[in-house]
Amino acid sequence: MVTDVPPLAKYEQDLRKGVLVLAVLSQLRTAQYGYSLRQALAEQGMPIEEGTLYPLLRRLEAQGLLDSEWQVDGGPPRRYYTLSTPGAELYRDLHESWGALASVMNTLLEGPRS
């Protein structure tokens, strides 16, 4: 049975979903608020839809991985997020896992070396 093949964008989106949390944690070693975080990720080639990112920050905070506080720097009040201690530990672990996974994937994609 052959079904319609989803467009490339769908597969790319699935790939990005898998690394979303790691990408966000990597940028929250310094405090960021939602909009600045999205900009930072986009500038480094990891655009994330705002409708996905902002709720994700709240969920990570609810899981105890992020700390947050409201700050007023002469502009409108903004909620800044940063890694909590468990979040920093998870980030280190995920960073290591990513290194191993990327290595395996590179081997798979490049094929066996002769």
Partner: protein, 314 residues
């Protein structure tokens, strides 16, 4: 239209789906973020931050209900995707059966069509307001039962070892089969003894003897078949004990046995079983319920008769 008003409405629509204690905080943050996104989007497009740009932004952000879902942590599943088609089928069939039976009952009662409420349309209206709508208790009951089951399983600590019945549903517990055979032997003894109660006349009160006096025709022609079917059931149980699992052959034998039991029970219910009317009426009611139970067992048995796995056609 004022973009701020549009954003406020959108944000309110999102946060009303969130837990009450989160709403104010999320609303304030989300409104602030959307305002910044709007400015950014307008500047990038070289357009004023008007209603059209706002609507584009909100469309990209997503439906309020979807956004609210993303704010919530993953909840528990009430009906698993794999169970959804079966759940829908059982719900709809249950409602349809109730409608069918109640409609047949309503229209089989003779009524004067010229009397008030006696015409077919009025009867249909009365049916709809009673049995018709009432039949929806069934899907409601199923949903409630599913919620309770989901709550229980969501709180259960997962065990490391998965019970064998989940991984191998055809495997049987031999000890339980032995217990079943023993209980069936013990349970059938009083039933077989019923015809002899009359001969114990001197030791039992007369009303008891009368209540347990079997109908002569039942005893002579309809009752003996039970012995044959009990023997078949015993054979199936022994086969199960030897094999240690439900095989296709044993399931087919069990289904055939169920069909024979249903036929026999229907035959029994169709005529008198006991000579005394009260005992007879009660017994036939119990036998009818038993027949329904066997029908349910037959449905499950037939559904589980697995076809041999065949190689795909080339």
């Amino acid at each position: 239209m004022n973009p701020e008003a549009i954003i406020d409405t959108y944000v309110t629509d999102v946060v009303r789906r969130l837990p009450r204690k989160q709403r104010a905080d999320v609303a304030f943050e989300l409104r602030s973020l959307l305002a910044e996104e709007l400015q950014d989007r307008a500047e990038s497009a070289g357009r004023p931050a008007d209603a059209a740009v706002t609507m584009d932004l909100l469309a990209a952000f997503g439906r309020p209900v979807d956004v609210a879902d993303r704010y919530r942590p993953a909840g528990f599943t009430i009906i698993r995707p794999a169970d959804a088609p079966g759940f829908a089928r059982v719900s709809l069939i249950g409602v349809a059966l109730q409608w069918l039976v109640s409609l047949v009952t309503v229209y089989s009662i003779p009524m004067d069509a010229t009397a008030p409420g006696g015409d077919w349309l009025s009867r249909l209206g009365s049916w709809w307001l009673t049995w018709g709508l009432g039949a929806f208790w069934w899907p409601g009951f199923l949903v409630t039962a599913s919620i309770v089951a989901a709550l229980v399983s969501s709180r259960r600590v997962p065990k490391d070892a998965v019970p064998f019945v989940i991984l191998d549903r055809d495997r049987v517990n031999r000890s339980l089969v032995v217990l079943y055979i023993a209980l069936a032997a013990v349970g059938s003894a009083p039933l077989v003894a019923i015809p002899s109660i009359a001969s114990w006349g001197s030791s039992l009160p007369q009303p008891v003897v009368e209540a347990f006096t079997l109908d002569a025709e039942f005893l002579a022609y309809r009752a003996p078949w039970a012995l044959l079917l009990w023997a078949a059931a015993l054979g199936i149980a022994v086969a199960l004990l030897v094999a240690g699992r439900w095989t296709r052959t044993i399931r087919i034998a069990s289904a055939v046995s169920d069909v024979a039991w249903i036929a026999l029970l229907v035959w029994w219910v169709a005529g008198p079983v006991f000579a005394a009317p009260l005992a007879d009426e009660t017994t036939r009611g119990i036998l009818a319920l038993l027949a329904v139970g066997v029908v349910v067992d037959l449905v499950f048995t037939v559904r589980r008769i697995a076809k041999p796995i065949a190689a795909p056609a080339r």
